[in-house]
Each structure stands twice: as structure tokens, then as C-alpha cells.
Symmetry: C2
Subunit: 135 residues, 2 copies
């Protein structure tokens, strides 16, 4: 029952996020890629592929789309002429900041009504789920 509810809750949240991202011209996969760039920029496409756990070929398409939309820019790697430097543009930084803010607001709406004890217990429960898989 709790498993069903967990999956259902995420489905609803993901739907909501997908709608919000569409307003910025982003999909889930592209937002995740943009997020990955933001966390490590500047980085090579190979590094981004490893971070996202997808193939380099997949990253080519994702970066193509993000570059086309103006969120990231490709440039020369200073030391390795095979590699491509990917960095955030100003538009990309703005979009990431907006995503962070939206995530915070959503979290407040979703969990703001819980007591500190409940929130702590729920967090522990979710942590134990993650532990089960990473252990």
C-alpha cells in the first residue's frame, strides 16, 4: 500500500514538474542534463555522460537541444582537442535558478503542513529505501 502511494506520489509530482518545465521549453531528460551541467560546469560531454549514466551518443543529442535553445554553450577544451567543454549560458543559469526556486516552493507546499516529527520520520523512511538499494 505504501509502495503504491510512493509510486503514485512521484507520478503526480513528475507530471507537475513536466508541465512546469514545458513552459521553459525543457523536457525531463533535458532538465536533468541541464542540472548535471549546472552542478559541474564547465565539463566535457564524456563527464556529463558519466554523471547522467547515459551513453555519449545520448549526450550529443541532449546538448544539441540545450545549445539550440540557448541554455548551454559548447567551447574548446583548453588541454584536449578531442573534448568539448560544455558550460551554462546566462539563460541557462537563470533557468536553473528558477528550477531550484520552484522545487523549494513545491516542497514547501507538499510538506509544509507536516509536523517536524512527521517530516523527520518520513525522511528516515525514504532514506531507508535508498539504503536498501545502495547497500
Amino acid at each position: 500500500m505504501t509502495l503504491d502511494m510512493l509510486l503514485r506520489a512521484t507520478e503526480l509530482i513528475t507530471e507537475d514538474m513536466t508541465t512546469a518545465l514545458r513552459a521553459d521549453g525543457l523536457t525531463q531528460a533535458r532538465a536533468k542534463a541541464l542540472w548535471g551541467v549546472a552542478a559541474r560546469a564547465p565539463l566535457t560531454q564524456r563527464e556529463l555522460a558519466d554523471a547522467l549514466e547515459v551513453t555519449p551518443r545520448n549526450v550529443t543529442t541532449l546538448v544539441d537541444a540545450l545549445e539550440e535553445a540557448g541554455f548551454v554553450a559548447r567551447g574548446s577544451h583548453p588541454d584536449d582537442r578531442r573534448a568539448i567543454w560544455v558550460d551554462l549560458t546566462k539563460k541557462g543559469r537563470t533557468a536553473v535558478a528558477r528550477m531550484e526556486k520552484a522545487a523549494d516552493q513545491l516542497a514547501e507546499q507538499l510538506f509544509g503542513g507536516l509536523s517536524p516529527e512527521e517530516l523527520a520520520a518520513a525522511t528516515r523512511a525514504l532514506a531507508s529505501v535508498a539504503e536498501h538499494f545502495t547497500a
Copy 2:
């Protein structure tokens, strides 16, 4: 933070389920469709499309794959010669039973170690998420 953990937990669970489904020759989308058939069989493709909230065209492909793999069978609708009756095969029933059992076992592994208080708090947190979106 809790939002991150919720999304992360579901990501891990989904990964795990995807691997398990692959052993049965099923993808997430096909398993969901099979599940939809199991809950209502026999039913028309139109009814399945409504239940899954996808287009009739999408259902054609999903049922094609499930039929090809022997999980469901198409048949004539008794009253409407336009419509197609979809029903589970014996293999389909077996697969659904196995999926149910696997879900129960996973839930036990994930949540069996929690105290009743933690489990109750987690359930309330998840319920409040669902309420936020359905209200």
C-alpha cells in the same frame, strides 16, 4: 531535501522493477498495460486507452507487443463488431501473479524494518502529496 529523497527513492525502485520486468520480457509501459488489462479483463482497446490515459494508437502498439509475447489475446467483441476484446492468457495471468508477489516482497523489504510510527508518518506524508494534486 525530502522531495529529493522521494524522487531518488522512486528512481531506485523503478530501476529495480525495470530489471525484474525485463526477465519476463516486459517494459514499464507494457507491464502497466498488462496490469490495466488484468484489472478489467475482458475489455476493449478503447477502454484500456482511457484507463491508461494514452491514445488509442498507443494501445494498438502495446497490445501488439503483449499479444506477440503471449500475455494477452485479442478476440471479437460480442456486441460491437468495431471493437476488440482484450483478455489475459494463462501466461498473462501467471505473469501478473508474479508481479503482484514481487511487489509485495519488495514492499516488505523496503518498509518491513520501519517502526509503526515511521511507517504511519511516511504514509501520511505521501497521502498529503496526493491530496495536494487531486484537490
